[in-house]
């Protein structure tokens, strides 16, 4: 007989906990400095940025098989900006990709900003002073369906599942913050660094693309506990977010969940890329704060204070619920967010996604309510089996009363910049010329 507990425990969060405690123990035992310990801990997308551990010298390599900014940990600040692209042919698109690559190479590595004759406008906005430091900056480029659809020479190369983001039943999409030809995800330790990067990119590419919308967000910075473990950051509903994310430091797991491989029926140029979903999801926080505590937990399916599963309240967020022993949903309701999102059975393994969200806080609505929510970003190798399937399962969930998706888009994250002579999107351009 199969032991259901074993099946359920072979989950990703379980791996992640092992890793975290493992590293934590080494760090403590070896009496390493706090900074080193924090760096060791802070390695997976799900992990919150660790308090007092960020340094302007932190850098993420911008070269590699895959683009940066997907499987590495979230720094405290994130932004998605979406653009309309002007390029009419492969040459113009290549020129845009090369411009962006040059900016990525400078901004993520850093260096002195060029000084021009003071009678001219400055080359750099100066937000970061005379020397740009990397500050954990990543810049991730992804393409929307419209870029392909509007260009007959590019259309045959569109990734198999890439479509314009469809409307889901609870959506109230605002056309001003939806879709786009090209999305740029910018993440860094500080907001100044993300904004500096965005302004630099806009200045360098003004003849090639036009800004359509942007949304900024952040991840709360967490102080690790006495055991050196950092818990997941909380979202604006007050729950820990990221607990059950797959372990993004596990390369094999990321190859399965996130990266598009050569044998998935995708165009060859797309190998090494990923599907990016961006959803700007407003949270009705006043209403949420007027909802009974117990109901909040039943809606989410986790204990609010600790993040523990509801059938294991004494545990931690890294414990996993045992749905097989709770077939009627007495502990974790059948329609709880986490239960619908991941039934944790064999079939749902195909629907695992890597979530990389940021909280956003924009201002006040006309009705005098806070305009806050989640800049939900997720990556997956298969858009249909990933986000779309999970969202379909979530359609009609009780959480919908408290959230409203208002914007975002579906994009395809380009494969990585292989080396200093390569540029982002080179495989697509080569394919477009060959076609």
């Amino acid at each position: 007989m199969r032991d259901p507990k074993n099946l359920l425990r072979s989950s990703y969060s379980f791996n992640r906990r092992r890793l975290l405690t493992g590293f934590g123990a080494t760090a403590l035992g070896g009496s390493l400095s706090g900074v080193v310990r924090a760096e060791t801990l802070h390695h997976s997308v799900a992990d919150a940025p660790v308090a007092n551990a960020a340094s302007p010298e932190d850098s993420v390599p911008h070269l590699g098989l895959h683009q940066a900014g997907v499987v590495n940990a979230r720094p405290a600040n994130g932004m998605v900006a979406s653009f309309d692209v002007l390029a009419r042919d492969a040459d113009e698109l290549e020129a845009l990709f090369r411009t962006l690559t040059a900016r990525i190479a400078f901004l993520t590595v850093g260096g002195p900003v060029p000084m021009l004759d003071p009678k001219l406008p400055p080359a750099d906005s100066g937000l970061l002073g005379p020397v740009v430091r990397p500050d954990n900056l990543t810049i991730t480029l992804s393409l929307g369906a419209s870029l392909f659809d509007d260009r007959p020479w590019l259309a045959p190369l569109k990734p198999k599942h890439l479509t314009r983001m469809t409307r889901f039943p609870n959506d109230a999409l605002d056309a001003d913050i939806c879709h786009g030809d090209l999305s740029i995800q910018i993440c860094a330790n500080t907001q100044d660094t993300t904004i500096h990067a965005l302004r630099d990119i806009i200045k360098a590419s003004s003849r090639q693309m036009i800004l359509k919308w942007k949304q900024e967000g952040n991840v709360p910075v967490i102080t690790p506990g006495p055991d050196g473990r950092a818990e997941s950051a909380r979202n604006f509903l007050g729950f820990r977010d990221g607990s059950a994310n797959p372990d993004s430091s596990d390369a094999a797991e990321m190859d399965r969940v996130v990266w598009v491989g050569p044998d998935e029926g995708e165009p060859a140029w797309a190998t090494g890329g990923s599907y990016q979903v961006v959803r700007i999801i407003r949270n009705f926080v006043e209403r949420w704060d007027r909802t009974p505590f117990g109901e909040q937990e039943r809606i989410m399916g986790r204990a609010k204070m600790t993040g523990a599963p509801l059938d294991r309240r004494e545990g931690s967020e890294f414990d996993v619920p045992d749905y097989a022993s709770d077939p009627e949903g007495k502990a974790t309701p059948m329609d709880a967010h986490i239960r619908l999102a991941n039934a944790r059975d064999e079939a749902s393994r195909a629907n695992i996604i890597l979530r990389r969200p940021f909280n956003y806080s924009n201002g006040v609505t006309r009705s005098g309510q806070l305009d806050q929510g989640l800049l939900f970003i997720c990556y997956q190798a298969n858009l249909e089996q990933g986000f779309i399937t999970v969202q379909r399962k979530l359609n009609g969930e009780p959480l919908e009363e408290y959230i409203k998706p208002v914007g975002g888009g579906f994009f395809y994250t380009l494969p990585g910049i292989r080396d200093a002579s390569d540029y982002v999107g080179s495989s697509l351009i080569a394919a477009a010329r060959g076609a």
Partner: protein, 272 residues
Amino acid sequence: MRISGLVGASALALVLSSGAFAQEASLDLVEPIAEYKIYVSEKVAKLVEDTTAFTAAVKAGEVDKAKALFAPTRLSYEAIEPIAELFSDLDVSIDSRADDYEKAEADPEFPGFHRIEYGLWEKNSAEGLAPVADKLLADVKELEGRIASLTFPPEKVVGGAAVLMEEVAATKISGEEDRYSHTDLWDFRGNFDGARKIVDLVRPLIAEKEADFLKTVDANFATVDTTLAKYKDGEGYVTYDKLTEDDRKVLAAAVNTLAEDLSTLRGKLGLD
């Protein structure tokens, strides 16, 4: 990491190398500026003439005639906006928009062209507009007088080319300028003509040294021309809502690029 840092920095240097060093201010500007003053004087004289006819129609309650005169009258104003804006009190009373006032359209202080535009198009009436029309005409005449006695500051004249493009980029490409009449393409025409006039006047001074720069600028002006030409209707243009999304993007990119490029024009001429 270090190595790619150098690559990054040199790539940046390449991107920015052209035109990185400005020249010393030149006496050669005297003539272009004198010519520009003539251009502006002619435009403002035309503005007074047209505004006289426009406000007369408003005061006579001839709504259709006033509507027909609205966009062509503004054309001269839009072309010389960088100079008109030197007199900020007049610019506010001639050309401010409803959003500049706390109560928007309902605000009794909302004046000028756009207050009249609101009445003509939204209310289809000239009722109550007579005092606004009188004030507009008086302001335009006052503008003409002040311009006549103005010494044109060279950096404002040369910088005006970029200012015109910044105006379009920041608040016009969205179609919010002439939001009741949707005659925005006329205003664009005026702004582009005004910017190009300035480039043409200083062109001989930089033709040799900045040939590539001028080529790019001319190409973007040409893009604007071909795009606007598609929307020509008689002497003027169709309404802004007829502009396709694709053409709006083309115009937006051309405007952003012109703003970016023309922002270096002052420095290229050695003006501080």
